[in-house]
């Protein structure tokens, strides 16, 4: 009888949680889950695709950087291991194309000089208010850590499975979906005001940023056969720039995963040795046979 009441309570609890788990899906007003993209940097052995990061940087530089800063990233980072790995010469030449405000000099004046690899990416606007003023009141956010600052709800029970599958590309998946999610508003959607754009994946579907990428907009490096290295499509652009954003947000991702493997192997081996040492030591007890 006691067991029955316990079981009933348990069933009640589980049912309650199941309802609780399902209802966010019902409540999420048709905002679809971003589709999963196969990223080279996912999983325990993930690494960045250098060519992809270099293409992504090109998109960032030619498209995003006119509104979005990446103020935490330095030019030198582009040449560091685990990133796009441009050559030092390329990076120095790139940095020199920017004018960086420096100073004060001996006369107490601020001055401009060509950029150096140690400089941070210059931001397009001097401050947030200037950025808002130039963008109809909307603020194009800094992209340095954006790939880690965006996510979508996985919901129960997926977030538990994610621990074991190491799925953590919520941010990149969301950003890729957003960049490819510009559509005409569906029938019955309230008329868009100036400065509003419809996006399938934006919460509330209204986004201030106009569709940033279009097919053929950015020219990709040509391969030996004279064809572009990757398709010049919105989908490919979105993947490449998102991968670049992930690298900006987590520049030591490769080193982390590489060290992770070494640490896991060491700990697993150490644990195995300790287990047998423990067994050996406990077997010294004169009446060990039935010690648990």
């Amino acid at each position: 009888m006691k067991t029955t009441s316990f079981r009933r309570a348990l069933t009640g609890l589980v049912t309650g949680l199941a309802i609780a788990a399902v209802s966010p899906v019902l409540a999420a007003e048709g905002a679809p889950k971003p589709p999963r993209v196969s990223w080279s940097f996912s999983g325990p052995f993930g690494t960045f695709d250098r060519a992809q990061l270099q293409r992504g940087f090109k998109i960032y530089k030619e498209v995003c950087a006119s509104c979005h800063g990446a103020s935490l990233v330095s030019f030198r980072n582009l040449a560091e291991p685990g990133g796009p790995e441009f050559s030092r010469g390329q990076v120095a030449a790139l940095a020199a194309t920017y004018q960086i405000k420096d100073g004060p000099n001996e006369a107490g004046e601020m001055f401009e000089r060509p950029g150096r690899p140690a400089d941070r990416f210059p931001s397009p606007f001097p401050n947030e208010l200037a950025a808002r003023a130039a963008n109809g009141g909307a603020y194009p956010v800094d992209m340095s850590v954006l790939a880690k600052a965006r996510t979508y709800e996985r919901g129960f029970p997926w977030f538990i499975f994610d621990i074991f599958t190491q799925y953590q590309e919520n941010g990149p998946d969301y950003i890729h979906a957003l960049l490819t999610g510009y559509k005409d508003p569906p029938q019955g959607f309230p008329a868009l005001l100036p400065g509003q754009n419809y996006n399938e994946y934006m919460s509330g579907h209204l986004i201030a940023m106009p569709k940033p990428l279009n097919d053929g907009q950015v020219e990709y490096p040509k391969g030996a056969d004279g064809k572009a290295q990757a398709p010049e499509t919105v989908d490919q652009y979105s993947k490449d720039v998102t991968a670049f954003m992930m690298w900006m947000a987590e520049p030591h991702l490769e080193a982390r995963k590489r060290m992770g493997l070494q640490v896991m192997l060491f700990l697993a081996l150490f644990a195995g040795l300790l287990y047998f040492t423990k067994k050996k030591i406990w077997s010294r007890l004169p009446d060990h046979a039935s010690v648990h």
Binding site: K2, T3, F6, A9, L10, L13, G16, L17, I19, A20, A21, S23, P24, A27, P44, L72, N77, V141, S144, V145, L146, K148, A149, R150, T151, F156, D162, I163, Q166, Q168, N170, G171, S203, A249, P251, H252, A255, R256, K257, M259, G260, L261, V263, M264, L267, A268, F270, A271, L274, Y275, T277, K278, I281, W282, L285, D287, A289, S290, V291, H292
Partner: protein, 423 residues
Amino acid sequence: MSGHSTYQPKTGIERWLDARLPIVRLVHDSAISYPVPRNLNYLWTFGGILAFMLVAQIITGVILAMHYTPNASMAFNSVEHIMRDVNFGWLLRYLHSNGASMFFVAVYIHIFRGLYYGSYKAPREVLWILGVIIFLLMMATAFMGYVLPWGQMSFWGATVITNLFSALPVIGETIVTFLWGGYSVDNPTLNRFFSLHFLLPFMIAGVVGLHIWALHHVGQNNPTGVEVKDVRKDTVPFTPYATIKDLFGMVCFMLVFAWFVFYQPNFMGHADNYIPANPAATPAHIVPEWYFLPFYAILRAIPDKLGGVLAMGGAIVILAFLPWLDTSKVKSMTYRPIARQFFWMFVLVCIGLGYLGAMPADEPYVTISRILTVLYFGFFAALALIGIFEKPTQLPTSIADSVLGGSGARLAHATASEPNVKG
């Protein structure tokens, strides 16, 4: 438990030191010859794991503090500086932030182990209460640590939680102003939280010292809950038996820890905390770190603000009264058929509250939170009542008996030792 010392100074230097400061004797008596019940299972390795986590958090934290800037306009970028430019800064920071979560994983297992095996009962009441104090200090430390990166969740978490004190009558507003160092969460708040976040771990270390002292005075509880009757038969020396077992448990725990640090470093965090703090923009859902979620759910379950704060505080404080709330003489729930079912239901209730704490404060979550809050406190009331009528199953006569009583031959051995045990 702590009988007389078995330490024998071997060299002249040891004898000289022992006569002046018997520190080697102290270590010997508490970490080498200290008798440990021989039937401890792996749940008992979490004490050692927690000690390891505290040390790991202090070491990583002290180094992080060398690179961190506690200033509202620089804190976020200084954390990113650690992540990008400091050598192995990403490792230190991920160890520290995931370390906090793993610390709570370990402490919750440790607490539930204590609940299941009745480790709070006489003569371990003070040991248990010291544990509750450590838990409270841990919560305060973790909360203030989460504020330091000065992201959106840092800022708004700090705003919501500090605001709770304003519900207290008369002194509430004064306390909040004092916590903030002004009239809103701002730079002074960040500065004092950094200072306290550095201080509290050393207070934890102090209380942990008392916790271990009390433990070594009364001796460890064990899965049978039957006290040690014959040190020779029921216990083994701490070294090498418990040392090697603890070490194995610790390394297994590190495997899980490393999995998160190296492969899922942001799994237990919140994406919004990678957005710099902005007092002008409230996040859609303000959610505390996962280890606070059950208490957060209790807070939101009560429609009245003061009531919610009291319920949340009460949910922790009630643990300190557990030694006197539980009326059963039997410690281990292994021998308590009814209490055991309530225990497992309590575990499910806590997990359920944790889930609800992460959900928005809408229906049906609010109603379910209320039901589970009642069940949470109901568990403690139930323990008071069950002890009166519950019929415990047959307890083993001694620890040695429970360990060796498996096979026929061993049974004979155990029976033979019974006269000793009765004494």
